[in-house]
Subunit: 623 residues, 2 copies
Amino acid sequence: MINHVRHLLLGSPLPSADVGHNRLDKVRALAALSPDALASVAYANQEIYLGLLVAGAAGLMQSFTLALVITALLGVLALSYMQTIAAYPSGGGSYTVARENLGELPGLVAAAALMMDYVLNAAVSLTAGVAALASAFPALWPHRIGLSLALLLLITLVNLRGLREAGTAMVVPVYLFLGVYLGMIAWGIGVALVQGPGVFPAVIPPPAEPAVMPGALAPVTLFLLLRTFASGATALTGVEAISNAVPIFKDPVTVNARRTMAAMAVLMGILFLGTIGLTQYLAVVAGPEETILSALVRRLFGSGVVYLLVQLATLLVLIVAANTSYTDFPRVVSLMARDGFVPRQLRALGDRLVFSNGILLLAGLAGLLIVVFGGDTHALIPLFAVGAFLAFTLSQSGMVLHWWRERGPGWRAKLLMNGAGALATGVALLVIGASKFAGGAWLIILLIPLLVLLFRAIRRHYAEVGRQLRLDDDAPPAGCTRHPRIVMPVAGVHRGVIEALNYACSISDDVIAVYVEMEPDSAGAMRARWEAHGLDRVARLVTVPSPYRSLIGPFLDCIDRLDEESPDGWPATVLIPEFVPARWWHFLLHNQSALPLKWALIYRRHRHGKARAVIDVPFYLKE
Amino acid sequence: MINHVRHLLLGSPLPSADVGHNRLDKVRALAALSPDALASVAYANQEIYLGLLVAGAAGLMQSFTLALVITALLGVLALSYMQTIAAYPSGGGSYTVARENLGELPGLVAAAALMMDYVLNAAVSLTAGVAALASAFPALWPHRIGLSLALLLLITLVNLRGLREAGTAMVVPVYLFLGVYLGMIAWGIGVALVQGPGVFPAVIPPPAEPAVMPGALAPVTLFLLLRTFASGATALTGVEAISNAVPIFKDPVTVNARRTMAAMAVLMGILFLGTIGLTQYLAVVAGPEETILSALVRRLFGSGVVYLLVQLATLLVLIVAANTSYTDFPRVVSLMARDGFVPRQLRALGDRLVFSNGILLLAGLAGLLIVVFGGDTHALIPLFAVGAFLAFTLSQSGMVLHWWRERGPGWRAKLLMNGAGALATGVALLVIGASKFAGGAWLIILLIPLLVLLFRAIRRHYAEVGRQLRLDDDAPPAGCTRHPRIVMPVAGVHRGVIEALNYACSISDDVIAVYVEMEPDSAGAMRARWEAHGLDRVARLVTVPSPYRSLIGPFLDCIDRLDEESPDGWPATVLIPEFVPARWWHFLLHNQSALPLKWALIYRRHRHGKARAVIDVPFYLKE
């Protein structure tokens, strides 16, 4: 029945031979991998507006300049990652690049940063989407944790069904968002040409959050610009997604992935420059309780149907942005599992050809973040950018070393470009880490070394296990002539005991039945029944008292005593007759002593370091 | 470590030989078994006041008359149960009496009613105690579900430690309550002698609950008196406790139990008649937000230290009233388990010589009631009296038949007395059932037949299992010469596999290793390694493809195919090599395929109805 529900929700299992069929074409891959980056534009816009607002109109006049710097950085990043795609067609992104070029430690740091970033992206995108929805329909506001978790569940199920379906489901919202925003920018350019530049008002309304505005206007200092740049650089989170997921593209994978990367970067640049440029040129300012994007849309179209359509598209793209984490997180942990840094279960493909365990781990961690942070986007954002820029910096630095070592055609230009990227992302990392340390970045900075230690401990464990299992010599198995002694607990004389004895004497001629006297003075009657049925001809009956009315302790003591008299030092095999009721709820009606006894036997190391085998002989009850 | 915590909380195990030592003397037994009945006086008082208040002063002048009727009923019940104690010294009360004299069905009805009553008593007493506490300290009000559950946990732990400790813990609050109330009544009689009778005011303040008071004064009709009698009769819930628990008394059990029963009835009568008599004689009326008992105490002592002491004693006795359920509920379910009507696990004594499973079941059900009814006493009260009076009526009727059949010396008087008791409790049952049906009694009336059906289904199951296990002939076990085929899943060639093969070939010369090809095209390499280590001399290697990358399905299909070629029709034995990591958290690092495979094998019936044995061969990892 569980299987039935599972197939209904997730689809039937897919054979391994179908791996190639589930790959994505460029249109679907863009939809599956870009929403994280595209949706970042929405909140980066707001961050830049809020950052410059403290300096008034003079500050806001710097918006487009900052946007150009960030877009330039985007260009550098995109070109670098296109080179990474060519150099590493099996995917892996920052983790692979840092590990192969800089060494294991930087690789693990990059992996830890990336993993946390994917989890944060899922949580932030969902809470931001739900918060936007709840702002439009205030009745939903008290339920936003529940709504976020419901969306998380929905996206998890879609992803467990498999990649092709996930890509298909994402096509509509992503292209709706792109279409609506590109149309808006085109219309806005027309409006700007007709109306000419706007003039900022003398007094700009402060935003609803009072903490953002100081008492008086701040001057436009270099520090203010740098800080605002760092905030706006959150627009770039998610840019690396495509380079991590190269193998999901259709053949030729490298070409398709690079083209998709270029298309995404160009689209992001147009959206970012277009919206910020229009905002500055038309001198749009936001009311106290709306975002700057919302103010721009109202300025261009009023508050009618078009406004609602743009807001809806923004909401949807934020929701699907969470999906990029579902494509990349399981892929990164699978790569790390292959190298033995995380549990092996995260490596394998599930029966729908997706990394099911990785998806479930991501969903669990994101759900935990949503609950712990009360579904509040603003509490999560400071944790977010640090990891992304740490991974960028390590990846760029790795590429610098890569070109230096390789020195193929045109290596100087490539090295210079990656060096500029490493420097820019490194500076941004320092600025973000310093300015957001107290706000939450400290948690990430603390967790990264802890995760790295954990990764190494896990790999040490696997190495140790491998060492213990290795066959040093080619000795064939020995000792085949030994016949084990069988010890079997009995609670009475009935058909189940006969079946078990039957089995025991078919594999050994040394069988001992142990009766634990749970009710005082019952041993005599038991021995009489045993002998009346002639069972003493097959197995010796040993009775042991149980002063505290428990089964397991006296039984374990008894087999220890029996082992001491074992001639060859091998522990006796324990045979457990087990009732199997016909219906699951019948289990409630029987003392379940077999299971704890088995566990006690298997997980209790034998004192001589020799393993004790345990045999289950089921007895099936009918009806 | 779990054992350590358990011993700290619950004490060390006690040997069976200590059973007699944990019995209670009369003083402790009264403390352990009477609080339910004694605490009932507190709310019965209030019920009578509220019931007669609707008829004004003319109604309240009937209080003492009603109290006399209820006390007379108490006397009849107490005398009847003293006879029951003599006739049934092994305890069991209403269940045993009804079952032995009226037949199985009435016995089961009485048992169902009693079980629900004990659960309700625990829940009602705790919520009433907590509500009283929270009334004194309003800051605790929002936390009363949590407080009730905390008290429930505390009482559960005290009872899991064992009866003697439970009796000791109850001595202080019960005798404090008795001392304070008896002193108050003595002082009140002095006050009454000095001051003479009081006069009811012309206008009596209505209680805070508006639903209780009609618009105009009601006349004093027979129906009003009957209804108030039925409400006041809740004072008698818990009277049967001692007769159910006869075996916990010290020898001579019968004499001690009868004397304790008599002492309890006399004390209850004094408390009930004394408080109601004083209230009527002094014409005490309650303010809008206090109980009539609280008003009486204020009238006698003012609102000072003595008032607080009496209220505190009332609170404490309500809390320990819950404890009587812990003595009786596990005992009744243990009796029923002996007869096979409830799961067997409820029968046995735990290692502290108490019925641990019964105590845990009671605590779970009471906790559920507390949570479902929001910790509200008034919502629970209507469910409460029906069960008690149903059990009373069945028990009294059973005693009538008992005397009729036995006709020993003085049987006529005894029969007449029990007949009167049966009639009175039967009438009360009808009145309570009718007047409280919509308020919650319907739930109990619905649940009782369902529980009876469940009891019978459980006994049918045990009977059927017994039939299947019975040895009809004395045939000795046969088939000892058969050597089972051993089939063993292997995932590679390493030390664990060698150990398992070693064991397999020591019990059978027909060993087959099955390799499930989880990674495509890995079978060839596996076979090469198998042969390189010479393992093909010990066991044939069979490889099976796994198109959906799962282990269990292909393996089960493979052993089904192997079973078809079995010459004697017996299914092969499956041997599972199992890694046992050195630390529990290492389990997270290994694919746990052994456990689900074992379960799938044991709980999958073999098509020929023959049982398949499963052997675990552990391989202990060091470090």
